[in-house]
Amino acid sequence: MPIPEPLEPRQLYTTCDPQSFSFTSTADLDGEIKISGQERAREAIRFGVGMKQSGFNLFALGPSGTGKQTALEQYLQDIAPHEPVPDDWCYVYNFENSRQPNAIALPAGKACRFSHEMKELVEGLFSTIPGAFSSEEYQEQEKVIKEQFSEQQASAIEELEKKAAEHDIALIRTPSGFAFAPLKKGEVLNAEAFMRLKEAERNAIEKEIANLKGAMQSIMMQIPKLQRETQAKLKELNQQVASFAVKPLFAELKNSYQDQPAVALYLDAVEKDVVENFNQFLEKESSSPMMPIGPGELKNKASQQLHRYSVNVIIDNSKTKGAPVIYEDKPSTQNLVGDIEHLAQMGMLVTDFTLIKSGALHRANGGYLILDARRLLLEPLAYEALKKAIRTRQIRIESLAQLYGMASTVSLDPEPVPLNTKIILLGERRLYYILSSHDPDFNELFKVAADFDDEMDRNEESHLSYAGFISSIVRREKLRHLDKYAVARMTEYGARLSGDSEKLSTHIQSITDLIHESNFYAAENDHELITPDDVKQAIEARKYRAGRIPGKIQEAILRNTILIDTESEKVGQINGLAVYILGDQSFGKPSRITASIKLGKGEVVDIEREVEMGGPIHSKGVMILSGFLGGRFGEQQPLSLSASLVFEQSYGGVDGDSASSAELYALLSAISGKPIQQSFAVTGSVNQYGEVQAIGGVNEKIEGFFDLCQQRGLSGKQGVLIPASNVRNLMLREDIVAAVTEGKFSIYPVTHVDEGIEILTGVPAGEKLDDGRYPEGTINGLAVAKLIAMSEKQKKYSSKTDNDKTPEE
């Protein structure tokens, strides 16, 4: 098998040609934000937003920073202004059931006007009603009614008094009532004089007084009835006067809202209530119409009464243009569905309809509400409240405290507001799939998924699109513009971010951050435009800032605290490559992998797995090696070896199968006895047929080994074996490309382990001959010979142990 040639420098870094740009700097571009490479997501957004049926809400999924929110807001900014402005909403007092305030919808901008007009109406009532009741006409009528009562009462008693006087009996007022007593010469007869009367006279007097007493009691029994009648007459009069006085005020207001049946009904109820409770406008306590009757004015009974006529405008769309687009940064239950606030008053918590607060759902009603899914799920009960609102298509304000019985105060049950809002959730893919799998409601309520890709194809068109995007960021953030060379550099960085020379990262946040950082260095370097040097400086500075841990590891290797050989040849020892991810930074590090063999039953022992430091993918990779060895060498004789593999000086866990090819090389070296050149490092997974497969983080791995070699001095022999399928992922650093160009460092694309082992040992792997043997002196030939020898030893050892056994056995 011919060994592959080292990669050409051009294969290590795919440049973006600045000359392909027709502009000189981003200032020449229009700066319009165009999200490229998200066609699938864009189509999903268009569909989800356009579908007006229930349940067609949207979940925009993708890694954070890929511009989900930007794309959505951009799309909605285009369409929302052309949609109708939704209604205003207000809460008013329910005169039939004060615990259930009524919600009233009014055309946009009219709710505040209505609230103001109600305030004016109340102020007007303070002058109108007292005016009506202080008129001479009213007072005269009131006096007549009262006088009528007095006269009726007085005339009945007077008549009785006259009747008593005819019998020389007086009606006398006692401290708590009335009594009758016999008179003589205008004075009450005393007991002595009375006893001096003849018995017949005394009896006659007593009889007459008894009669009078009965008559008096009859009269007094009639008094409450007369009082009730009088009260009824007075009430009727008062209501007639009040009704007549307030009617013009209400008629004017009703006329303004005749096309709003809900308002007309409410005004009817207010008018009725005002007429019934006209006294509140006469009381001195509340006689100041200027006294505010806003929230919190629950000081006394009178102001509480007047509070009822307030209008609590919870949604005012007077300044809204088109459909509202709301992004709720803190989607707590209260912030979503609204809240009923309470006031502490005399040690109690009290509330009323003016303390009802709107939520994001109210504000977004008739438009769009964008929420971060993770934040939503972190807020207690918020997700459930949102689902309930979508399912029932109404916003019901429920207090959490009431729901959990934490507060036993009397609260409100406001009338729900009909909901017509498109809900858009933003979240990571994992979150979407978890919700989709575990929440039965989710797929019903969020039927449209807009999947945002984190990379896009790299071509000239996308280069230009990237440039446009950079321009828009620069304009939005008011930064320096980039010259076209810096744009090219930035585009190359986008490819590096995606880990693919044929793709560009759509992680907008990272690009934006780099522009900001480059702008900083451009300012420091006194550049009018951001240049490629500024971009390079920003990238290097970023690497330097995050370079403490890679630096420490490098230092440990250079001090031989961590043993990594880059010069000699060793049997069963190889340099593997691992990637470490710390926060948003990743870096490569070489690790020594060793293999040793002994007599055994053909198993490969993964020491990492034995001590539970190896992950399942790593264990799988090692088991594949057993399969490879069995397939290649186990056809003719049993594998009588036991091999053990270990990542030397590994104190943390190991996972992934990117080291499986390195482990196989180490095994082949150990079995064949041929040393591996330690100037190489290897990455790539392998299958049972020995084919080398692609791995991730190839750039970081190469850079990690290159840095070590550079520190020790590049000898020209050093290099890295990578899977050939990873060549398209290469976007290596400038210094590596330079070293390769100068022949100081090599990168070999490997498709099969037989190629790799030849590069590493300098000995051909050896192809299988027709008779099933491998050529002598090749790696495979040597391995077979070794295995045969081990098999023989195994046999001998087995027969010896059999002979040692007693004949009886």
């Binding site: 007022r173 006692t174 708590s176 029994m221």
Partner: protein, 284 residues
């Protein structure tokens, strides 16, 4: 009309109290005048001897006002009730006197109410009492004690009414007689800046009316009073009462020694006018 007219001199005002709304109004009116004229107040509460006598009768029963139930009323119970009433009257009286900052004396008497009140009032310059007492039948007109006081009492009489506010107008009948001059002078002295003086000039000719106008202007002098003059050609009490009612509720100040109006007409006028009245007593 010769000589200089003087206002009535009031050093002590007697107030007859029975805890009725009218008597409370009379107490307040009396206290206001006492404060204005630096007079002292004498409170009078009379334990009605007729009540006590009635309670001694073996068959006496009281019918309760709010329940219409009847139960025997004995002397002990009655006396206890009267003591309570007297105490209440004293408390109201004391509180009012202190509020207006006037010196006061309070007496509880026992006997026939009218004669006791009139006798006690002999020591005073003004007797203030409610237009009617506590019986409902007396509400329309004057009560028996008030009627007697108007006709027989020596001091001037103030009959108060619970429905009339103190800052209302003051209505004075003026016919040029000495008595009516004193009444006008008195009205001027008790009128505050808020009160409007309505002066009814009793004159059946324009020249007489003109003369009376000049006289009233002379009596008012440079005292800045809001005044309105009304010329009335009648002396009949019914017509006068109607005119007074048309002017509005207020304190009516008049003299019982008017030349144009007989004392009987004055009494009838007081009876027919359902307003508070200050009757200035004196000879022509």
């Amino acid at each position: 009309m010769t000589g200089k007219t003087k206002t009535i001199r009031i050093h002590r005002i007697s107030v007859a109290l029975d805890c009725s709304p009218h008597s409370r109004a009379s107490l307040v009116a009396a206290a206001e005048i006492a404060e204005l004229l630096h007079a002292e107040l004498l409170g009078i509460f009379v334990e009605d001897i007729n009540l006590i006598r009635m309670a001694e009768l073996p068959f006496c029963q009281e019918i309760h006002l709010h329940t219409a139930r009847s139960e025997p009323l004995d002397t002990l119970k009655l006396e206890r009730l009267l003591r309570l009433q007297a105490k209440e009257a004293y408390n109201i009286f004391r509180e009012t006197a202190l509020r207006f900052g006037v010196p006061y004396t309070f007496r509880t008497l026992r006997g026939p109410v009218t004669s006791e009140v009139l006798t006690a009032a002999l020591e005073s310059d003004l007797l203030a009492l409610g237009r009617s007492g506590r019986t409902p039948v007396c509400r329309k007109g004057l009560g028996s004690t008030a009627k007697k006081a108007v006709e027989e009492a020596r001091p001037h009489i103030l009959l108060a009414h619970s429905d009339v506010k103190p800052d209302g107008p003051i209505l004075v009948l003026y016919d040029g007689s000495r008595g009516s001059k004193r009444a006008l002078e008195t009205a001027c002295s008790i009128a505050s800046a808020k009160n409007t003086l309505h002066i009814f000039l009793i004159a059946n000719t324009e020249s007489a009316a003109s003369r009376l106008r000049e006289e009233t202007a002379s009596i008012i002098g440079d005292r800045k009073k809001k005044t309105e003059l009304h010329v009335l050609p009648w002396t009949d009490s019914a017509m006068l009462a109607q005119c007074i009612h048309m002017t509005g509720p207020g304190l009516v100040v008049l003299s019982d020694s008017s030349e144009a109006i007989s004392p009987e007409s004055v009494y009838r006028l007081i009876d027919a006018t359902n307003y508070p009245v200050l009757l200035v007593k004196g000879t022509t």
